[in-house]
Each structure stands twice: as C-alpha cells, then as structure tokens.
Subunit: 247 residues, 2 copies
DNA sequence: GGTTTGCATTGATGCAGATCAAACGCGCGA
DNA sequence: TCGCGCGTTTGATCTGCATCAATGCAAACC
C-alpha cells in the first residue's frame, strides 16, 4: 500500500547519517563508503508500528521523510508520546539491546537505517561520530526537558500553541522559509496530539478551534495549518519571545 | 555557614569523574593525573543557586554529596523542575557556552568540578570519555522521558508515589540496601516537589498525608520517610511491577 | 518567654479539563 | 449512490486539582 517511491528519497540522505541534521564536515570518503555498505532504506505506512517496546533493536537510523512518535503506554492504557520524530531525527540507542518505547509512523515514512552492530563498531573506530551523537542526544534531552515544562505547567491552550509552534519552526527551517505566513500539514491525529500533550482529544479539538476562531491560526480542512503571525503563536505558547531584549 | 568538611568528601571521587556512576575501567593513570590537575571541589548551602540560567558555564562536574535541581521558570513565575541531581549525577553540557537551566542546591551539597575548557579538550583526546558521557546522557534522556509520562498522564497520588519511588530506589542502590524497609531523608521541600510534579504544594501535602494514613509510607517529622513495602509503593506509582511475568 | 520566620497542614470554594454521549463529514468500497 | 467507518466536532455534566485563606508548628533569634 505504500505509495512512496525510491525517487522521493531526498538526496542529502546519501551519505553520513549524521548529516541529516547538520553537515558533518569531518566525514571522510572511506567512512562514507563504510556507512553506505551498512545502509538501507525502509518505508512504513501511516499508522504502522516500526518498533515495539521490548523488541530487539536490529538497526539505528534517521527519519528521511514522514513523521513518527515515541510512545510509552501504561498497563491500563494511558498513553504518553515522549518524542516526536521529524525528518532528520535519529532513532535508536547505541549500546542498548531492546527498545524502550513503541516507535510508530504517523504518516507514510521513509527511514534510512544502519544495521546496529556494524554501526556501533564504526562508532568505536570513529570518535567524531560518537561526539556528534552526543551533541544530538544533548539536543534531544533539551527538547525533552522543554516538554516537561509544557506538560507540567502549561494550560491546554498553551500546550496546543507549543506543539504548533514546534512543528511550524521545524517545517520552516527545513524548507528554508523566509518571512511571511508559515503553512504546513499537521502530521498527527487529534488523538496523537492529545497523547503528546497530556490531554484528551476532545480538549485538543476545542482548543484548536478556539485558536482558529481567534485568528491565531487558519485551517484548511482538518490538517492543513497556516500561521499568519509566528510571534503571536509563540506568545500564546507562553514562550519568552522577548524580541531581542535580552543582553 | 557550610558545615561540610573536606573529610566528608567520599573517596571514590578522587579519580575519574565518570567513575561516580559506574567504574570507568579504561581510565589510564596519566588520564587520571590530567583530570586531577583540572579538578576542584565546591560546596553549596541548601537553597543556594549554583548556576543561573543564561550564565556562562565555566565548569562541568558531578554531585558528590547532597541534592540539587535543574529548574526552568516562565516569565509569569510558573516553575518546573526538569531534573533531579542526586549524588553521582553529572552537571553541565560540553560544547555549550551558557546554562539553559537554573541549578539549585536543595540540601548542602558538594560538587566535584572540572574547568570546562580543559575538560572539553580532554574529551577530544580521550574518545572513551565521550562515549561514557553519551551513555550517561542517554540514561538522562530515558529518565526525562519517563518523567514525561508522570507529568502527562499520572494522577497527583501516582505522581507523589513515583517521586518517592525514584528517591527510594536511588538511595537504596547507593547504600547497597538489601531487603527490608527503606528509610531515607526527603531532600526536597513541598514546594520543590510540587514544581517537579507539576502540582501545587497543597496537593503535595494532602497526597503525602493520604499515603501516610493508608500505611504506604511512614513519616518521622516532615522529611524522614520509611517505605515498609517497596512493591506497594511502585503499585501506587502505576509502574509495571509485573513481578517477573514478562518473558 | 515571646516573637519572628519559614515550612507544612487543613478547609472551603471554583474552574479547567475529563468524561460521557451524540452527531457530523468525508473518503471509500460495494 | 448508498452506507459504512473513522476521525473529528460539539454539547452537557462531573471531578480532581488549583486557588484562596487560615491555622499549626518548630527552630532561630531577641
């Protein structure tokens, strides 16, 4: 059923896995060749589970196209999304055998994968890959901690605005956006958003429509979002905008 | 005012910073010597801020004794603790100039510090330090994500039980505890707990006393906690106890 | 001893968001 | 074209926790 073609795989995925987020200038030709040897692509349909929590992980990799979530579930069914996977994000944990979370594709998704064992061996032999991975992990840690503030202290409206703000920002940087209204496709169902934000899907629906009524966002259909004024959205999210007042 | 003496500094802090959590078997004599040259101790009183968010970080290090928090504050004063710092935890972020969070000592605290610049240089020359740091950061990331589930989906009572459970577990492993009731000093004020759990201090107080009334915990004074049955506490926290049912 | 000061507890009340319940709308296969 | 199913919206009601306001209580200081 997957409608993704190999032709759609972005060019920049050709080389170093680390290049997805930021160019790794120190990757040498022979390293790239080695990486190419252990590299392969996998495609997933919307809704498909990529990895089950507890399963043996046999690869690491990064998202090339599409969106996924890292999800944790309690015995009684309460669910929390603990991470969003947007294009360029890294998945997998070197040095750990089994997955800690469910990884689910929320849209049709292409992953660039590396067999775990050879990748780990390469990490040992190539120090700057470990160093780059450390940077990426520290970024993820910052993101997780920022999200703790969202979950612990923000109102439903602020939570929604925070989520939209994050997706909008990522989308804008990915497409080298320069000023003007930002437009993007919301890659999550109301339920997935609720699970990310610690809300119910009903509350998500109500708050999104409230933001729409008040002109903070515009909606075409249920998923296509336009943000006419990003600063306004940030303000709704409760982020320090501070417009450069900081020293 | 600090009543901590040099004599109280634990022995195992003498060598590799990475040794605090787990012995780093690969540290060689000359590396240890190098680390010793850039190492120094700092003590802080309860309530003292170790680093202000936005400040220049001039050291990294790990907690030797005492407890601290990483805190994020919104403009309007809402506060969220995004990380607990227990003995052996690492503080600071190699490769970043300024601190992202307030670091606050909640009890009298001893830190083992390394000047940041030389430490970073050492990291480049000594790959396994970066690798060890990567492991530690991945552990922290897991902890942060587990906490996202707590913040997003658990009830006030479960939140309290989760916090007690974490502190109890850390305390038990640190003191090589073997069976029987666990006893420890709660290192946080009601307010700090509230800020960690995304609650108000009143709710924290009520729920703690509810757990006490129902015999899940015992209290001596306001801080000294006894956990007669750790499994019972885990259950209250909503953790999968599963007692070995899992394959 | 009295007073201050800084947590912690306790009680009364209100509200944001959960829960329960229905209906809508839209794509898709028969 | 119909109707089925899934994601979404909308409405009515309930409730867990926040909020506001005292009060308690022990250590520190005069």
């Amino acid at each position: 059923m997957s409608k993704l073609l190999v032709a759609e795989i972005p060019r920049e995925c050709g080389d170093c896995p680390i290049r997805h987020r930021a160019v790794c200038a120190r990757c040498e030709a022979d390293e790239l060749e080695l990486l190419d040897q252990i590299k392969y692509y996998r495609t997933y349909e919307a809704g498909q589970t990529i990895v089950w929590s507890g399963d043996r992980m046999e690869f690491v990799g990064s998202v090339v196209k599409g969106v996924g979530t890292l999800t944790q579930t309690m015995e009684d069914g309460r669910r929390q999304v603990v991470g969003l996977l947007l294009p360029s994000d890294f998945v997998g944990r070197p040095g750990r055998e089994t997955a800690t979370y469910d990884v689910v594709a929320t849209t049709d998704t292409v992953m660039c994968c590396f067999r775990k064992k050879p990748f780990e061996e390469m990490m040992v032999r190539t120090p700057h890959i470990a160093q780059r991975l450390l940077q990426m992990t520290l970024d993820e840690l910052d993101a997780a901690r920022e999200w703790m503030l969202v979950l612990g202290r923000k109102t439903a409206r602020e939570k929604i605005a925070s989520l939209l703000s994050i997706v909008a920002r990522r989308d804008a940087t990915l497409n080298l956006h320069a000023g003007g209204p930002i437009e993007f496709e919301l890659p999550l169902t109301r339920e997935a958003m609720a699970d990310y934000l610690g809300l119910t899907l009903e509350t998500v629906s109500r708050q999104i429509n409230a933001l729409k009524r008040e002109g903070v966002i515009e909606l075409k259909g249920k998923r296509q979002v336009t943000v006419p004024d990003f600063d306004r959205l940030s303000e709704e999210a409760g982020d320090d905008s501070d417009g450069g007042m900081l020293s």
